[in-house]
Symmetry: C2
Subunit: 313 residues, 2 copies
């Protein structure tokens, strides 16, 4: 039976899903990795893939498509651009996988774009003609689908909605070198930063935070009535709703899906976010739906598998 | 021989182009119109179409597709939304045309979207996979093409880039009811307004202007070294380049085409505009090309014909 693999490449491990060609996730494994830049490291990956298959009675020849998602730009031709946050030699890894899986089509996909494709294949956007996935984690990523297809962009910057400018008066730099990007306010880092700032302004003590991206504690503080937390999350919604209104003036999607780690708290801020979007959007777009993504952290794994399958034709 | 008609609907007249199926413009006519809301008015249009054909030895049965562009939203299903600036009953006109041209597929297209499709069919964007047309006239319209296809939007607001917010501090209202839209600064009206404001600030006398959209005179003043004109156009480029950078963070097109009446002055401000875009865009997108559209005022006529032909299949 033909199988498809989705490989979600993270900083310290990769997560691999084995799918049927109709999108059923049949098995998952995690392979611990360090830098993926040497033949030895490539072999750890290919051996891990073979072990997953063997455990499930599948041979490498049965794998017809393998998708890999990377935390960086991938252009319309599938070429991987500069990877800032991970030590990975994409061409070397691709060659090693190709040697092991002779029948498989290989595809690289940007991680947020992959998450959008995953939601399109088997998640909240199944069958949708147009939508935008907003993946909120340490940063803010996005995946834009129009006319049923992913918009990767001519230079791999399609769906880089974390870098829509939402505050032209900002003086602090974003990671991209520009100022006032959505990511500075609506990412996990941005929410925690805003919460601390609101506490300082109010002279109140912040709740205990496990680190600079601990939005879970901020959300819990919000539930407990902590005014600084309420303010921080209202600000996040205002900036995010504003950015979504700008996106709607470009591609006018039928829905937005909120995913990533912060997407898990969706119910807490859904009302604020919907109100902010409607405040800023053009009249015809007020009917746009805003929903939580449904595949959680598996979305990108689904999506890169799907892309590799689609490209195979 | 099969023919395609493109009907560009304006406030006081409609312009009709007769095309071969491979996109050659073979004849053009103008039909004066008033409000197009009665059977009598519909008949004026259909008689005008028949006269154009008769003059060129073509029968109504040879017409296989007819596109109509309208100055308002048209959604992904081809349904026309509210038309603010024109008295037109789209369904009535469609029915009248259908009775006369039994073999023709009819399609409505938003005017700026039509212009983008025209450039894709026979203009500067021929064969392009992704681009955005920015049509600068009395207002600022846009047409977004991604993966070779027009992005009309789920609610007809795709490519409404004149309503990207570029100045959150604006206190004056845009025609859409919101504040700080690109259209308030980069339209012909916006450029003339900025020029007058710059003259007032400098205490200089503006050149003679024929009306509130006379950018030609402002451009000529710029050429003659009028500092207020230089400032007004620099401001237009700054806001437009900023808005384009936001678009690139969403669909990341391979090129921008500047069209509409103000597009005619492209060479005057091309350098300023390219610099502004590069100042604001994400690093991967700096290679995006910024070019003039090539079909001028005929672009929408080409584009709606093309859309009707495409939909016929």
């Amino acid at each position: 039976m033909s199988k498809v693999l989705g490989i979600d490449i993270g900083g310290t491990s990769i997560k691999v899903g084995m799918f049927s060609t109709d999108g059923k996730l049949e098995a998952v494994t995690k392979i611990p990795t360090g830098e993926i830049v040497s033949e030895a490291a490539f072999a750890v990956v290919t051996e891990g893939l073979k072990a997953l298959l063997a455990d499930n009675g599948v041979t490498p020849d049965e794998v017809i498509a393998i998708g890999l998602d990377v935390p960086g730009p991938v252009d319309d031709d599938g070429k991987v651009g500069m990877l800032a946050n991970i030590e990975l030699d994409p061409e070397g890894l691709q060659a090693a996988i190709k040697r092991t899986f002779a029948n498989a089509n290989l595809a690289f996909v940007n991680d947020a774009n992959a998450a959008a494709l995953g939601e399109l294949w088997q998640g909240s956007a199944k069958g949708a003609n147009s939508f935008v996935l907003i993946a909120i984690g340490t940063g803010v990523g996005g995946g834009v689908v129009a006319n049923g297809k992913l918009v990767s962009g001519a230079f791999g910057a399609g769906g880089e909605i974390g870098h829509i400018t939402v505050n032209r008066d900002e003086t602090a730099n974003c990671g991209c070198g520009r100022k006032g990007c959505l990511e500075q306010y609506a990412s996990a880092t941005g929410i925690v930063r805003a919460y601390k700032k609101a506490c300082a302004a109010k002279g109140t003590e912040p709740v205990e935070l496990s680190g600079p991206t601990d939005t879970l504690s901020v959300f819990n503080a919000h539930r407990a009535g902590d005014e600084a937390a309420v303010e921080a999350i209202a600000q996040m919604c205002d900036y995010l709703g504003y950015a979504m209104a700008q996106i709607s003036a470009v591609t006018d999607p039928q829905m937005y899906l909120i995913g990533g780690g912060v997407g898990g708290g969706f119910n807490l801020y859904a009302e604020d976010l919907r109100n902010a979007f409607r405040k800023y959007c053009l009249a015809p777009s007020v009917a746009t739906r805003i929903l939580p993504a449904s595949l959680g952290n598996d979305a990108a794994m689904y999506g890169c598998a799907y892309q590799a399958l689609l490209e195979r034709g």
